[in-house]
């Protein structure tokens, strides 16, 4: 892997949470021992979706909202690849909301790293599906009326293989969560990463998150679904970060008889 991107300067504001997430991603790839030749970073559209361009990996930067079906096709065609979806809250929970739900149902071995800043950055400041009630923007001039989507709770309800949350301002924690995700082999991983948007979200600032994030209680059993759901829904003065939920459900691809003989791409090459 010797091809550096042609323009390696991230198109992000100085101080953007994406910068910290990108650094953590690079550290986690090394720490988890992921072979970059086998790594595919998949994204849709948005500020977070530019992430794959700023590191060394195979890249599939597709359409807005459609990272997950593209990643699904990649993983089913070649399940030896490490397929990591790294995109934003608007891309993954809004435009791609239907795919998010059905990806959780399938439990394919995809790692979702969702940069969640509760606002649309690329289009300059509209509400995102995770914006809090009352959040005022130039579109939602009287404040957001629709309840924020609950991605972690949805993932717990759909029995997602591994559900985690972290914060771009907690570098060591974030790297640890990413490594956990990269080493996971049981199916879909959701890692929701809280992240400030310094230009368009003046409510959920770096300090706002910093003051609220708390590690999940040490005695939390991630296989306890009821307790996991409570932690997934916790949002307010205290926001839990860490491993929220684990499932023992088999991965989708491990149940496909056709893939027992090897990856589809290797089977084609052998014919």
């Amino acid at each position: 892997m010797i091809n550096p991107p042609s323009d390696n300067r991230p198109a992000w504001c100085p101080g953007c949470g994406n910068v910290a997430i990108l650094k953590a991603l690079d550290r986690a790839i090394e720490a988890a021992g992921v072979d970059r030749a086998k790594l595919v970073l998949v994204s849709g559209i948005g500020q977070a979706a530019k992430t794959p361009h700023y590191t060394r990996a195979n890249v599939f930067n597709g359409l807005h909202g459609r990272a997950l079906p593209a990643a699904t096709g990649i993983k089913l065609a070649n399940h030896d690849l490490e397929v990591v979806v790294t995109s934003g809250d608007g891309d993954m929970y809004g435009e791609g909301g239907n795919h998010f739900l059905h990806t959780l149902r399938r439990n394919i071995g995809l790692k979702m790293f969702v940069h969640n800043n509760q606002v649309y950055g690329l289009t300059k400041g509209q509400a995102s599906p995770t914006s809090d009630l009352g959040f005022v923007t130039k579109i939602q001039t009287h404040g957001v009326l629709a309840r924020p989507v609950q991605p972690l709770a949805l993932a717990v309800v759909e029995d997602c293989s591994l559900v985690m949350r972290s914060f771009s301002g907690a570098a060591e924690h974030l790297v640890a969560m990413m490594v956990e995700a990269l080493k996971h082999t049981g199916g879909t991983v959701l890692l929701d990463i809280l992240q400030p948007c310094i230009s368009f979200n003046r409510v959920n600032t770096f300090k706002w998150y910093k003051d609220r994030v708390r590690p999940v209680p040490e005695d939390h059993d991630p296989y306890d679904r009821a307790r996991a759901l409570e932690l997934a829904l916790a949002w307010g003065d205290e926001i839990p970060i860490g491993v929220i939920y684990r499932s023992k459900r088999p991965s989708f691809e491990s149940q496909l008889g056709v893939l027992a003989k090897g990856t589809l791409v290797s089977q084609f090459a052998a014919t």
Partner: protein, 561 residues
């Protein structure tokens, strides 16, 4: 000589099983059979019918009138009896008046077979008697069909067939029927043919959302998945389906999706993506009448211009439009080959008529013969995905190999990374569209049927092949010399080749006095497309958009006026 048997009833009454039984038996006896289905979008209720046309010579179309109507419901009598050919016969499941053969088929099936399901055997037996065919052939086929179910089921079905024949004995041989040759004729439907074409070409990934009339191909591929090593996934929607296909294509396996007009509309952003990422994505688009939900279970040729222009921005693609099951089999392979050769989306345009029709087809090779993906297995150290080349096709490597493969829906540099460099943008867009040159040079020439000096030229595409071909024969029999020109590839079009083939220039075909474009739509889309690409013409339009397929006789009648 030929005749048409029309089986009609409510959905769920066994219209299809009766039709299928007759088709299989008659083809096995060495008759040429052409079968079409017309059904309503309900699991039960609604009038459906199944036409089985039988002849001692090859058939390419259905007919308007039926010689034998098998009515399983009173509504079938009301609606379809007016469409009975002179001298035709009606068999009704129950009591009926003069000129109608009343056989309580369901009741007979229950009494003799112990199940209403065997009414189809009773009906087939009655039809055989009416046509004067040897019941042994029907009994023989029932033995084959129910071999796995055992002797008792076979015997009951045969007994039902015999009772049907006995009840129609007074009318035995009343309808003159073509003589069987005894040598079985191989049959295929459009659905089976296109599915087998894709499976044998090595398609490895199929993601679709069910939508009539494309669902049959999706189902066929799911059935073939274990034998051919295909992953078949029912996507949550058509948007997911096309994006999954793009992902699988990127990772290196031949991939396709199946859909109809409304689903294809949802996929269109993905068509543009496949164009931008230069991915071999194949889309089977099985047409039905729109706009919107339209007539879900009927046929149309309304999405030609949509398929040719689908995708925001300007996207190179190929569009194939097979006319018969045999063409569908070969063009499914060619669609996958073209997609890989030129790294573009390819659309395979069929419709309900072609999907569901069954006709004599040379046996289709079911062995797996994978296409060439045109992959670079050992990319150089400085590999970039979108190297600008003459002809626009860049060496394609796969992720997982020694070089990273970077693809981006944003405008990108040759290495695949996002760019705002406007000079690069122009160079890369030129590169992507440059493929249209060699794609046009390799485009399939339109197929001509009929004499070179014909003063009447029928121009058509897709499933209208058979009806137009039959119309040419019918016109010849009536003293009008006509020819057909059929486009099995509708994009890209070689304008000069089309002008020559249509006799508009060059010294090939003579310039016809009348050019008539025959299409299953209301606006004449191929006629418009030909003008757009540089084939100026003053063709008449012969259009049909009522949801039913063309027939050769209707086309001939309209031309003769």
């Amino acid at each position: 000589m030929d005749l048409t048997i029309r089986i009609a009833g409510e959905a769920g009454q066994g219209v299809q099983t009766t039709g299928a039984l007759l088709v299989s038996t008659l083809a096995r006896m060495g008759l040429h059979v052409f079968a079409t289905q017309s059904y309503l979008s309900r699991i039960r209720g609604g009038l459906n019918w199944y036409d089985v046309r039988v002849a001692d010579a090859p058939l390419f179309s259905g007919r308007e009138a039926a010689d034998v109507l098998v009515a399983l419901a009173p509504e079938a009598l009301d609606v379809l009896r007016p469409h009975l050919a002179p001298g035709g016969a009606v068999i009704f499941d129950g009591e009926c008046g003069d000129g109608c053969i009343g056989i309580p088929m369901t009741q007979v099936a229950k009494e003799i077979g112990g199940s209403a399901v065997m009414a189809n055997a009773v009906a087939a037996g009655a039809v055989f008697a009416l046509l004067g065919y040897d019941l042994a052939a029907l009994a023989d086929y029932l033995g084959v069909q129910f071999k796995k179910k055992g002797r008792e089921v076979i015997d009951k079905n045969v007994a039902c067939a015999r009772e049907g024949a006995r009840r129609a004995a007074d009318h035995a041989g009343r309808i003159a029927a073509p003589k069987p040759t005894g040598t079985a004729v191989a049959m295929s439907s459009g659905t089976e043919a296109v599915g087998l074409g894709a499976a044998t070409a090595g398609v490895k990934f199929v993601a679709s959302y069910p939508m009539t009339p494309s669902t049959g191909v999706f189902t066929f591929l799911a059935g073939a998945a274990d034998a051919y090593g295909i992953v078949v996934e029912q996507a949550e929607d058509e948007i997911a389906a096309i994006n999954m296909v793009c992902g699988a294509a990127y990772a290196g396996v031949p991939a396709m999706t199946t859909t109809s007009g409304g689903g294809f509309a949802l996929m269109v952003e993905g068509v543009s993506l496949a164009g931008m990422l230069e991915l071999p994505a194949v889309i089977l688009l099985s047409q039905r009448p729109g706009p919107a939900t339209g007539l879900p279970t009927r046929t149309a040729q309304q999405d030609l211009l949509f398929a040719v222009h689908a995708g925001h921005g300007e996207v190179a693609r190929a569009v194939f439009a097979p006319g018969t099951p045999e063409q569908a089999y070969h063009l499914a392979r060619r669609a996958l080959e073209t997609a890989h050769r030129f790294q573009t989306p390819v659309i395979l345009l069929i419709d309900q008529f072609l999907a569901d029709l069954q006709m004599a087809t040379p046996p289709l090779d079911a062995t797996l013969r994978p296409i060439d993906r045109h992959i670079v297995t050992e990319p150089p150290a400085d590999y970039v995905r979108y190297a600008v080349t003459e002809g626009g096709v860049s060496p394609r490597a796969l992720p997982g190999g020694p070089a990273p493969v970077v693809v981006d829906s944003d405008e990108h540099t040759e290495d695949g990374h996002i760019t705002e460099d406007l000079e690069v943008r122009v160079r890369l867009q030129d590169k992507r569209l440059a493929k249209l040159g060699p794609m046009t040079a390799e485009a399939l020439a339109p197929e001509r049927y009929g004499p070179p000096d014909a003063p009447v030229l029928l121009v058509c595409w897709g499933s209208t092949y058979g009806p137009c071909r039959e119309a040419v024969d019918r016109l010849a029999a009536r003293g009008t010399k006509a020819a057909m020109l059929h486009f099995a590839q509708v994009w890209p079009l070689d304008a000069a080749a089309a002008r020559r083939a249509m006799g508009l220039e060059g010294d090939g075909a003579a310039r016809p006095e009348r050019i008539i474009v025959v299409e299953g739509n209301a606006t004449g889309q191929l006629a418009a497309l030909l003008r757009q690409v540089g084939v100026p013409h003053d063709a008449e339009l012969l259009l049909q958009y009522d949801g039913l397929p063309f027939t050769g006789e209707a086309i001939a009648e309209r031309i003769l006026g």
